[in-house]
Amino acid sequence: MAESKLDTIVKREYLERVKSKWFLIGTLLGPLFMGLMLFLPAIMGERERRSESGTIRVVDATPDSVGMLVVRSLRGGVAGDESRAEWRMAGNSVDVRTAENEAERDVVQGSIVGYLLLDQQGLESGRVRYSGRNTTALVTMQQIEGAVTRAALTRQLEASGIEPERSGALAGMRMRVDTERLSASGRGGSGRVSVLFAIGVAVTLYLTIFMHGSNVMRGVLEEKQTRVAEVVLSSVPSDTLLFGKVLGIGAVGFTQLIVWTIVSTGILAVRAPLLALINVRAQAFELPELSIALAVIIVLSFVLGFLFYAALFAGVGAIVNTEQDAQQAQLPVVLLLVMSLAMVQGIITNPEGGLATLMTLLPFSSPIILPIRLSLTTVPQSESMASLAILLVSSIAATFVASRLYRTGVLMYGKRPTLREMWRWMRTK
């Protein structure tokens, strides 16, 4: 009988929320956001590549026309895109000054985006100067640097007696480093993707725990403000009401997570073909191999983390009377959550450090930090287990405290209780 009443409460909490338009919006916005994250960078990148129409002028004061090579390299070959770079000869220092003034004027007027000044002295010292409007375009700057380096190298090779064609080929040789993540469970995924995945998981866990945890608080507060709690409590014990609420809202969060996962996986699957359709080259985006163990731990982290924070939020809801009160009183709880998220960057750069281990064990941060570390590196199994066990025990303790506060607080209207009063609520049987 008690089970069926709990069931009734869980159902109401779940259905009333899932039926609301906010759930629909939230559930749709998640994948939309995810989609934008996956598509936008590729599309923007492509657009940037195409819209780089500004011409770069190479003012060449070198005796052996190194600038010519630079221009050719920037254009992407002998018959490359001529609008990309142009060559200006500057024979002597007077010429250089005139050419520079002219280039400066052209930059300001907008006919070129910038100019590169090449002279013998600069090449020998290894420093040349580029002035222009687009100095923050890092990719372009890297291209210029590469082009100058190759050109200078070509000329030096030629000077040491290697035939020009061979010099060009030697200097143009490029090496690329592919990264691969290596862990106890095997090889898989590149490091960069792991980080993206880890951040995605962290943010998703943070958002769902935060959103639905504070929904528990709002639910408790609503029942308190509308006084409906008194009616419900005439039918069920306060523990049943509290657990029903937490379970129902947790199920809402879980539903949302599942929808997000399914939709995101779907988007990921069609991403490359879709991008190809609109003629954008897509960089391969592979998920790190998601082992069953990791999946289970992510789910457990959500469930336990939600329970932990839901209990804290419920306790806050039970001791406040108005939304404004709630905003203030929830601050410590919110800070704990935000702090966990703020640590993510530090954890990513050093997933095996002491801070990482500490944050994995502390119950307020472990539901976010443990999945991150697991997707970045290998966490000793004993540590994972300890982390989950501590979280479980803390959730139970928090739930116990919350149910004590709730039992008394939910029927208390008027002023907020003092710490001493709350302590008394907790001790009364």
């Binding site: 009988m1 008690a2 069926s4 009443k5 009734t8 409460i9 109401r12 009333e16 609301s20 609503e222 029942e223 403000q225 509308t226 006084r227 409906v228 008194e230 009616v231 419900v232 409590l233 005439s234 039918s235 069920v236 014990p237 029927l411 209207y413």
Partner: protein, 304 residues
Amino acid sequence: MAVRDLSLTVPRGTVYGLLGPNGAGKTTTIRMLMNSIAPDSGTIAVLGMPSSSASINDRVGYLPEERGLYRKMRVRDVLHFLGRLKSVPKSELPARIDKWLERFQLRGRGGEDWGAARVDELSRGMQQKVQFIGALLHEPELVILDEPFSGLDPVNAQALKDTVLEIRQQGRTVVLSTHVMDNAERMCDAVCIIARGEKVLDGAVSAVREAYAARIVNLTFESAPNDTVKNVLQDGSLVARINDMNRRVEVELTDDGDAQALLARVIAAGARVERFEVVRPSLHRIFLEKVGAHDVEADMSGHG
């Protein structure tokens, strides 16, 4: 301390009134009955069980003083929820809900159906009716109504009274708190008056009134009474207090004083009596007398 040394017995199958000014401890008493709060000492038995036992939940219906429902829910869904919490079988709920909605004019002839509306679209009075329905859906053996009349218009107050009396006719028990004595006097079989957390008096309404009956006598003379008559009226063995309004006199008798003896003596003293009435005091009057007008006036202007 809200309630002190309160002891009362509610007979089954009666309407029992808990009377008292605001702050007297009515709601505290009811909350203890509902096991929302625990008494510091003493025991409470509801339907023969300890009030803390979960098994009585489904046999009791409760309308708290502070009313409220889930604002965003549809009325029918709220009632379904409340009914399920009282273990009413799912299959029976729709018919029961419709019956009650019709009874309280929330669903009717013009095709209007507030059952489909959201709670916050209803007026306060309507919400109160919905909550009242919620307390009765499971046909409880014991119905506890905390200030059920506050906020109801006369039409709905009448519907509520009819329902309460019907519940009583079915042999079920109603405990209601109110500070409107008129309602209590007309509906209750027995009452308990409390003030400042303590019981002032309790018992069957008729017995309470009987206890105070024949204490007050109203006399109207044809002309202002002469001195001999006045002497009789001031006889301390017969009259405890007199309220002299010239031709009309209100007399409160002493404990041994007899109204008929008083009448005989004033006539013997030569008075011509136009009207003689032994007043059976209203609950309102008893209430004022026992609780003190001072306490009540402040309260009566409050609400209700």
